[in-house]
Symmetry: C2
Subunit: 413 residues, 2 copies
């Protein structure tokens, strides 16, 4: 079973928005055994939409389009769908009623633009959008399916999870597919490849390995398509071999991140964390609080962006700031110790560095000092990253969380 | 002039990574008058790459591919390029030397996988990668250009900015294109469309309007392709008319965000900010510190995730927490006032709310209290958003920064 995802709209083609819809849809399709052969982004012209949709419904078992269903004037997907499936637009009463009630309920006027959203291609199966005013549409032709979904990510995602995948599963007979991804941190791709070369060479022929590098980490994904059930057991056995090869370079699996691993350990041990961030400016705290359950281990944090706050809240000695500068080992250590004390936590983690060039300093951009403090004492380390501001902030944050992880793992032994 | 961007790699097709490369390339192409007709993501098989590249070089003036140039075994783009352009792979001495020196300089072994990266198609023009080991390649055929770039975003972006765009401009004769985008906040797309309907109807025929909705805001982009120079002036005049219609719903232009507008005002007035975040958990601070120059106005922040920190660092009265609960107006006000005092800033902004369901509370998920404190007093407001955790955190943060913006604008009058 093969699928194509088509995103409609000039905003992607001129680079003004990042397409997060396709990865979401692709991931769910793959998990259910539908291979995504291609993802294309096209312009919202009648010609481009017509050509792409007509080709796709003839070629692929499943076509999913996003975008082009909004109330404003640049949205023309519905009329193209009427052309392709040779039907007219008609008022869809339940949709009319739903949109009217929804908008009036939150005090938004039910205007003629919104009314137009209740006119839908007559041959479409209408899929209710509980979170917005544009419903999704489903067409079937020669056993092939086409779904037209709104482009607003939140609305689209809910519909795919709640309805679209179930419809696909009920209409197509799908194979068993198993994906599992090991997350590694701290080894560059080429060193990793050498390290696991013989393991890789001995993989069974029905299991495919992919390297997925991103900032600071490489994910190793095994994909197995099989008609028997034990593919999961075979894959898991391969990963146990991999764990022995990689040791602590292997963070975890699938959705594991540095912060989720740390969160799990702290939660399990009923220990608490506080962070003192200078150059990372709240990034580390926000990585932890982005995950549910952060209140179980995170006391909080201090964004000590100015030296004044380092002194007043974290208790860093002013004379040390003067002698060593803010980006220094003693300041990082005092920050970690200070935040642990001020917020009464088991662990304190700090960062102080330079994410991008600053005037009047001899410090290098990309330099960061990280410290981890606990009742056993404080450790500190310097890192260098030579990247742009946003990547430096990400790398500084990862370095700090990784240092905390190492410390937590060390204590477990 | 038309272009196609092709991203190579299963990691996009199975939804494991989000393609941020294409928007970056698309944006630069568009700014320089090259229309991106489509963006496609394909599998890293010999067949898929061969078919897509051969079709693209025959159809489009510019083809840009990313990915498939790494050292590991799943990368085969180079051999497909040799097939298409009918040439052999050969050792490229400068690349060999550069990779060797680069890797040895940072203590990474120059292994045989890395050596293979110096073998390149003989007919390619080699574009040096200063930030990684895979150089970019350029091919020319019948006046059409094909660039093969590495997939690592940081490396790719630097090469596009430093070399690729200049090569395209030198080889093709490009029209004048002008894009400008107004950023609106606080009006849903359909209300905005009604409000600006007559302005939209009167747009000149060579200027195209697009609505670009995203969480909490809608961007309005005007695109004008013209062979005369005054298109910029005409577009700017249209936006001045729009400003009169939209008032403070219009945040700014192009890269403007709520936080950049606030940052500009605070910097200009030499005023300072401190943030006290409960449910947003460092997000607001990290939005400000993601921008260069935050040290000019941001004293810092307190992530008061636990009640203990609200009391100990921000001075919130324990009895008020007990009576009203953490998610309440009095607590939000005391947090904003407390952080302003503790960090000695002109403004204090606070958030306290529920980003996702919590046990043992009568509070609703999506409820947030926001307060802004200054020497003139403290204002506070309640908001409701019914979304997933990450979107709620984003919306809470925007609501808080927007309230601060309103307060700053009010004071300017």
């Amino acid at each position: 079973m093969k699928a194509q995802i088509i995103t409609i709209g000039d905003e992607i083609l001129i680079g003004q928005i990042i397409d997060t819809n396709s990865p979401f849809i692709a991931s769910l399709l793959e998990q259910n055994g539908v291979k995504v052969a291609s993802i294309i982004s096209i312009s919202d012209t009648k010609e481009a939409i017509g050509e792409a949709l007509a080709a796709s419904i003839n070629t692929f078992d499943v076509t999913i389009t996003t975008g082009g269903l909004g109330p404003t004037k640049d949205d023309i997907t519905k009329s193209v769908l009427c052309d392709i499936f040779n039907c007219d637009m008609q008022l869809h009463e339940p949709t009319y009623k739903f949109i009217k009630e929804r908008l009036e309920g939150i005090g938004i006027e039910f205007n003629e633009l919104n009314q137009s959203q209740a006119y839908l291609p007559a041959d479409a199966e209408v899929i209710k959008n509980n979170h917005g005013t544009a419903p999704a549409l489903m067409f079937e032709k020669n056993g092939k399916l086409l779904f037209s979904l709104p482009g607003v990510p939140f609305e689209m995602k809910q519909m795919v999870k709640d309805s679209v995948m179930d419809i696909i599963k009920s209409k197509l007979s799908l194979p068993i597919v198993y994906h599992k991804t090991a997350i590694t941190y701290g080894l560059p791709e080429s060193e990793l490849a050498i390290k696991i070369a013989s393991w890789e060479d001995n993989l069974p022929s029905n299991i495919h390995l992919a390297y997925l590098p991103s900032t600071g980490r490489v994910r190793l994904r095994l994909s197995a398509i099989s008609l028997v059930d034990d593919v999961e057991a075979v894959t898991n056995k391969l990963f146990i071999e991999l764990e022995a090869i990689l040791g602590s370079y292997l963070l975890g699996y699938d959705e594991a991140t540095l912060e989720s691993v740390v969160a799990d350990i702290l939660t399990e041990r009923c220990e608490t964390l506080a962070v003192a961030e200078s150059c990372t400016g709240g990034k580390i705290a926000s990585l932890f609080t982005a995950m549910e359950g952060a209140s179980l281990y995170l006391k909080g944090g201090v964004v000590a962006y100015s030296n004044e706050v380092k002194v007043s809240i974290l208790g860093v000695d002013e004379s040390i700031l003067e002698v060593h500068g803010a980006v220094s080992e003693p300041v990082a250590r005092l920050m970690a110790e200070g935040v642990r004390k001020a917020l009464n936590s088991d662990y304190g983690v700090s960062t102080t560095g330079m994410a991008s060039p600053m005037p009047n300093t001899v410090k290098k951009t990309g330099e960061v000092w990280v410290a981890v403090s606990s009742k056993e004492g404080t450790i500190s380390k310097q890192f260098f990253f030579c990247e742009l501001r946003d990547i430096n902030i990400e790398r500084f944050s990862s370095a700090a969380i990784s240092m905390l992880r190492d410390e937590l793992i060390r204590k477990k032994r």
